[in-house]
């Protein structure tokens, strides 16, 4: 499940009022989340949660659920 915090960071970065994020939601399904904007979202997530991803970890992400799991795994370390 996507946490409220992560949802808000993504919505704010994409300038969206609301979006129904599911674990399986892919970036391409979200308005404005294209390959160029992707970097801004990743930086915003890193900054908000005070964590740092490895490049390979980001490249492996398939959907928003994977991003949530990655954030959780970093916070639990």
């Amino acid at each position: 499940m996507i946490s409220d915090k992560l949802r808000k960071v993504i919505l704010s970065e994409l300038d969206l009022d609301d979006f129904d994020f599911q674990d399986e939601t892919k970036a391409t399904e979200v308005p404005g989340w294209d390959s160029l904007n992707h970097v801004n979202i990743i930086i915003a997530v890193e900054k908000h949660f005070g964590i740092k991803f490895k490049s390979l970890e980001i490249l492996r992400l398939k959907n928003v659920g994977d991003l949530q799991n990655l954030v959780d795994s970093k916070l639990n370390k």
């Binding site: 390959s35 970097v39 990743i42 490049s55």
Partner: protein, 499 residues
Amino acid sequence: MFDNFQLSRITDLLQFNPDSPLIFSTGLFIFLFFGFLLIYNLLTKYKNARLYFLIFFSVYFYYKSAGYLASILILSAVINFYFGKLISTSTKPGIRRLFLIVSIIANLGILSYFKYTNFIIEIINGIQSAQITPLDIFLPIGISFYTFKSMSYIFDVYMEMMEPTKSFRDFCVFVFFFPNILAGPIDRASEFIPQINKEPFLTKEDLGKALFLIILGLIKKIVIADYISLNFVDRVFDFPLRYTGFENLVAIYGYTLQIYCDFSGYSDMAIGIALLMGFKLMDNFNSPFKAVSIADFWRRWHISLSSWLLDYLFKPLQMKFRNLRQFSNVIGLFVTFLLCGLWHGAGWNFIFWGALHGIFMSFSLMIKKPKEFVQKKLHIHNTVGLKFLQRFITFNLVAFSFLIFRLRSFDTIYEVIDQIFSFFHGEILMQFLEKMPLISGLLILGYLFHFMPDKVEIYIKKFITSLPLVGKAILLALVIWIVAQFKSADMQPFIYFQF
């Protein structure tokens, strides 16, 4: 009864000939493919025999176009299969990374030797006024395509996006698969390999779609691309100064249509042929001239290459330099498109073509926010008029970039542009239409069909699917007859074969 003379002619026909690759639109291919398909279908229940037969036919298909250099293809398959294995079985990240780097060096080393050695020698000779003699290197046809196809497997295994295949047989089917070996689509192992062990099953819709794509591909390649190239585009670009600016401009639009019909026609046939064998290949084109921006164009043109570059080059670069924020995109875009240009060929024009697209994309990224602000202020955001304007600008930028792609000499490019701006003579339009009715008609029809709504294509597909088998056969025979009327005496290789 065959006598010795006839037998030797048949043997000659079946042997390697660099000037006569086994192109889908040749009579020889159609004859061999029907024989192949018959045996392939008879072997439906015998998976092992069917797959080895497919490997054998694919290697023969490649040998017919590349001769002894088919050994490079086999070497590439062996290297990538075992590196995939080594990467997946290593537990230490450093060792996995090392195997990845070595496999990239091996793949790009082979590709570069064949493709870029003489270009580098030319550059060295230019800088140092040296006299290094160029090497006698024969470029193995399709090497850029199958190298990238195999590399996608290595990357996906490294990034743990897929489990490596345990079967060398299956890996060979993936790498050697004849429909996409010479000019793509550059299919992904993760999508293709799981299809290998499924029993081929062709639905009525699949058969209709396959036939539609083969017919469409034949018409695009022979009727449009080859005809306008031989009878108009090549003539203008050989001597631009002999023609008015108007004709030069029409030649630019003509070449833009030609390269699209040539390449997407090949992809259509490849996808259709693969479908007849029960394999679904990835889409490679999606009405690229309907694009409203250069970024949109690259989501629609040569999709298998652009998505490959996006996943394995742009995204890693973008993430590596993400602290630079927007500049990570600019760096990623520029490097990606420069290498995209170089992938197409060892020539400065290809490098400039790639750089130009890198500049288009970076510029568009820089002005994205102010542009959206202005559009919202003027209340033209998402309007039909704005979309039309965006399409018009994008199409012309793309067409101009293809001029650089087509002409290797910058002097000739200058001549074409100079004629357009200083000797246009638009009044010859009516004369042009009267003197070249077939060329004008093909250009107009080609573009009209391209800009038709998607539902027209869906309707035609449904119509072909609904035809009884005899109707489908008659339709195919009719198209082959029409195509034969347009076919020139000299075989025109596909433009993308040279890459």
